[in-house]
Symmetry: C2
Subunit: 306 residues, 2 copies
Amino acid sequence: MITVLCGGVGAARMLDALRLVVVPGEITGIVNTGDDLVMHGLRICPDLDTITYTLAGLNNDETGWGLQGETWRVMAELEALRGESWFKLGDRDLATHLYRTTRLAQGASLVEVTAELCERLGVDVRLLPATNDPIATTFDTVDHGRLSFQEYFVRHHHDVVVRAVSIEGAASAHPAPGVVEAIESAERIVISPSNPLISVAPILAVPGVRDALAARRRDVVAVSPLIGGRALKGPADRLLIELGHEPTPGGIAALYREVAAVLVIDTADAELAAGVIEQGLECRVTGTLMSDPAQAAGLAQVVLDG
Amino acid sequence: MITVLCGGVGAARMLDALRLVVVPGEITGIVNTGDDLVMHGLRICPDLDTITYTLAGLNNDETGWGLQGETWRVMAELEALRGESWFKLGDRDLATHLYRTTRLAQGASLVEVTAELCERLGVDVRLLPATNDPIATTFDTVDHGRLSFQEYFVRHHHDVVVRAVSIEGAASAHPAPGVVEAIESAERIVISPSNPLISVAPILAVPGVRDALAARRRDVVAVSPLIGGRALKGPADRLLIELGHEPTPGGIAALYREVAAVLVIDTADAELAAGVIEQGLECRVTGTLMSDPAQAAGLAQVVLDG
């Protein structure tokens, strides 16, 4: 059994890669919910949706986000009404949010709704939200005050100066049923190449998860989200600097030193391996881009081997 | 100034007819909200929407409900997810519900949101929900227990035996700002040819509205929703019988005797005018079908003349 801590796009690729070398039914993804939002009354879980759509083979490879064959009728009409339309919701995607919102209102837990959506869409990996409880990754910014995750990420295109990140609600949240067990019982635990500060941190902030991971540190392999000091997607590099961390393999290793024994870094960063070892982690060097199935499978195998 | 108490389709036609003989800006519609529902987290106001769409010229004349050029992408996907899809929401219609839900969550009142939607869609009649407070028309049925309005009307196609109707929340609701004033200041007050028991009754059940109307009784004209003992649309005839009323002009007059001085009935029912007069109302006989503009304008003029 393999358990993977997951943000959005990077995690979706990591899970997709692991499916190439492990029976999908043996993979559990524990997914960040700190980006979740209620918009227009609808409960939206961007990371869960990105992963679900990707594993279902429904992701739009051309745009890099959203669904294949998506249409935008509702958004176009909402814009005509001069409604709040900065967070784009495709017609097909909306059905997911309608489904989830109704099931939650009926009393189903987010774990149950996630399992239902995976079953409906034919996802063969088990996905668990980190928690059923509401948590919210929140940004204290210099020019715009406090921003929710999607205000920061989508509305402001993460082009703002961040002073601090906090995970609202985390202190009183509980790990979703199965989360701690999935960490305790896995042969290998993987931290995806997701943003450590805003995608992985909210998972670790749920009481009990960090401790469970630390107890399995010897079997935890993290994959760096940086290549040549830059994040492939998103603001990881900029945020690391603004919040006082190094945008290097060593900086990532410092963040994970208590919970991971190995950091996988890209071949482009091979010369920086010493920074990882300095933090007390072993370092593996391989292609981390997952740009083709062969490279993806190669990374998955390195991660599995630990 | 003309004030019109409104349900859905019949009221939309009545308002549309009145526009033919009165300056639209002098017409106020007070609209039933007892059919409102929260579905998939979205606040839906079927009567307000039917009227808004009709007055905006966006209603679908072919189907008799919904919007012109509507598409059903979200519903099709929701069905594919095996989600709750018995209440059909078109893509275009959904934008209205997203808009309303967001504005209400931002603290706008239903009156404000309704005014915004009317402005956006170019509706020239003033529409007021009867109340900003939540009220819910609820059915006590023989075979299905308690049903919400839309469960009764849409899910069960109003094909169930009803023991009683109650307007939940009405006792503690307040008339929306402008509602009582619109009744007090109008030259003519019209009760639309809507279902008296489930479309007009929820408006009258809001404390203060019935009294305001009774105080203006001399200037209140009601239009019967029945032609030849049958409702043009919906379950008015059946409900009248099940709840112990007569499905006749006299039966309608009995329901409105305290709040209206005149009942307009269709020429097909001319021989039943005596039943209206027996209840202490005057009776006007004219074509009430509003099937063409000439007939619609004719009815509007009869209503205006009182």
